[in-house]
């Protein structure tokens, strides 16, 4: 055997990394013992003591809540549209048609979920569970992102009123807790708007999420903007590009690419923050657990239920995180 194969065997690796000195060996044994004890405890609970029927028999509740069972086919259609749009977006090189396709799909999806025209209306209080979480998160992300970009650009503007407004807005909102802003949105928006306009609670909640996250996204984008060397803007100007064109073609593409990790991080935060909506009688994924646990046969099954929704949150957040890494690598 030559020395190369010696260093590649698993036993040799263990020897080199985990058992090279006496204290490392001791540490390895202690850690291994601790991990085994935890794994046994968790495994024992998961397979023997836990009652997973609370999850398996309530799956429809988790996902769509009290949505009328005979209309659920519409939600399946929405899923198909979403998957189809994402697939076409990934597979197709040309992106131009997405500008038309996506708004059309959005309207289609909202119509399918809410009803009206030829479909029976399903009130927003019946939009529960994961459906509401996904809806609130997606709409908030889509609205907060452009507002955040505008705020970041406004903060750098040479017009003092615009710059002042954007700075004050961002600094004010960043100093307030999200729950405070959601509360203000639920209570104060009806007071501020004229009496005839009745805003749906979901709309108020989304407004709160958007206002909050736009401020944080503005700072993330501003970080990206500051990373652009001055020479880029000078070269753009020297070629005769006016400010809007140089922003659109030169500055923003580069700035947003730099800010992708921070921006997607904010989106992930936003997604998890939708759980706060459960405090305002909007029954999304976290809120539906209360209804589930109120059922007499499932009293006290907290661990299974929260582990399950934890898993669902994790799956979505991890997917976003992976997409972020793909986006970063794709950009030059």
């Amino acid at each position: 055997m030559n020395s190369k194969s010696k260093t590649q065997t698993p036993i040799a690796w263990l020897q080199r990394n985990l058992f090279n000195t006496w204290y490392n060996s001791l540490l390895t044994i202690v850690c291994f013992a601790l991990l085994s004890w935890i794994a046994y405890g968790v495994g024992n609970w998961a397979f023997n003591k836990a009652q997973w029927e609370v999850v398996t028999s309530n799956l429809p509740l988790f996902f769509v809540g009290r949505y009328p069972a005979d209309q659920v086919w519409r939600l399946w259609l929405v899923l198909v549209i979403v998957v189809g749009t994402i697939a076409t977006g990934i597979l197709n090189r040309k992106r131009r048609f997405l500008f038309i396709l996506i708004p059309v799909c959005v309207l289609l999806i909202l119509w399918l979920i809410g009803g009206g025209f030829f479909l029976t209306t399903v009130g927003t209080n019946l939009w529960n569970g994961l459906l509401l979480t996904l809806l609130a998160a997606s709409i908030s992300i889509v609205l907060a992102f452009p507002i955040g970009i505008l705020l970041a650009l406004g903060r750098q503007s040479s017009l003092p009123i615009l710059r002042g407004f954007c700075t004050i807005y961002v600094e004010l909102v960043r100093g307030l807790p999200l729950i405070g802003i959601l509360f203000m949105a639920q209570v104060m928006l009806p007071l501020v708007l004229p009496g005839q306009i009745q805003l749906d609670r979901v709309v108020r909640a989304i407004a709160g999420l958007v206002l909050f996250n736009a401020a944080y996204l503005a700072e993330n984008v501003r970080g990206g903007l500051q990373s652009i060397p001055r020479g880029q803007v000078e070269a753009a100007k020297a070629l005769g590009l006016n400010t809007p064109l140089s922003l659109l073609l030169i500055v923003l593409p580069q700035a947003l690419r730099t800010a992708i990790p921070a921006i997607v991080g904010q989106f992930i935060s936003l997604f998890k923050d939708t759980s706060l909506l459960s405090l305002f009688a909007l029954v999304e994924l976290t809120g539906i657990t209360r209804s589930i646990l109120a059922q007499p046969e499932y009293l006290g099954r907290y661990a299974e239920v929260y582990l399950f929704i934890g898993l669902i949150y994790w799956i979505f957040c991890f997917t976003m995180s992976q997409m972020s890494r793909k986006l970063e690598r794709k950009s030059i």
């Binding site: 060397p229 020479g231 880029q232 000078e234 070269a235 753009a236 100007k237 020297a238 070629l239 005769g240 590009l241 006016n242 064109l245 073609l249 030169i250 593409p253 580069q254 690419r257 950009s331 030059i332």
Partner: protein
């Protein structure tokens, strides 16, 4: 083609340009030399409004530079600039870098912009790199792309702000060759550089700037062999 009259510029209390005047005729190649901090880069950057100025007048191709934005944008289309740091757009290919401005500013069709771009890339000798990104090119290649990008707008004047100062010595030659052929084709050029060989061979006129003032202006032979001013002699003794 270009008339700068008595231009003054202050950065706060510090006066960078102290009444510099310059007249450049069409087809003329003017080289500006001088010690660092003399204001030569600042001076040429006033020509395309990358720097503003507090006093004096600048008239380019008959149009006077003013604070009006539309006026500035129009003048910038006629004045091309090549920077010391290249300033290519890293997220676009070489071809896209060159076609960007003509497509969006001069509103040419994609076909026309690409045709002109490919001709220019061939002229500067990098046709085969057209689909690469700036990050994949050497410094000399990037600067040549920058020259092609500026030429794509078909400007009347080309400004060069120390175009070879950031290049490795082996690559300086290829860029200077491109600039030389550009001069021979009749382009009006104003070049800030330390390249004495280029100045001697290509310039119609050499100007020395020091501490915000125009010290001497002479033909290459006069400048290098019979300098009139003391400061010119001092500068030449340092660089030759």
């Amino acid at each position: 083609m270009l008339i700068a009259e008595n231009v003054h510029k202050w950065y706060g209390k510090f006066q960078v340009l102290r009444g510099v005047s310059l007249t450049v005729s069409p087809g003329e190649v003017v080289v500006i030399m001088g010690p660092s901090g003399s204001g030569k880069s600042t001076f040429i950057r006033t020509f395309n409004a990358l720097e503003d100025y507090q006093q004096g007048r600048i008239i380019i191709d008959g149009t006077e530079l003013s604070a009006d934005l539309r006026n500035i944008d129009t003048i910038r289309q006629e004045v091309g600039m090549v920077f010391q740091q290249f300033n290519l757009f890293p997220h676009l290919t070489v071809l896209q870098n060159v076609t960007l401005a003509p497509t969006y500013v001069r509103k040419w069709s994609k076909a026309k912009a690409e045709e002109v771009a490919l001709q220019l890339l061939e002229r500067v000798g990098i046709l085969e790199q057209a689909q690469k990104f700036p990050g994949q090119l050497s410094g000399g290649q990037q600067q040549r792309v920058a020259i092609a990008r500026a030429l794509a707008m078909q400007p009347k004047i080309m400004l060069f702000d120390e175009p070879t100062s950031a290049l490795d010595p082996e690559m300086v030659r290829e860029v200077l060759d491109v600039m030389r052929s550009l001069a021979e084709s009749g382009m009006t050029m104003i070049v800030v550089t330390h390249e004495v060989g280029f100045a001697r061979e290509v310039a119609d006129r050499i100007i020395l700037m020091d501490e915000g003032l125009l010290v001497e202006s002479a033909s290459p032979i006069e400048f290098f062999q019979h300098p009139k001013e003391e400061r010119t002699r001092k500068f030449l003794s340092q660089i030759l």
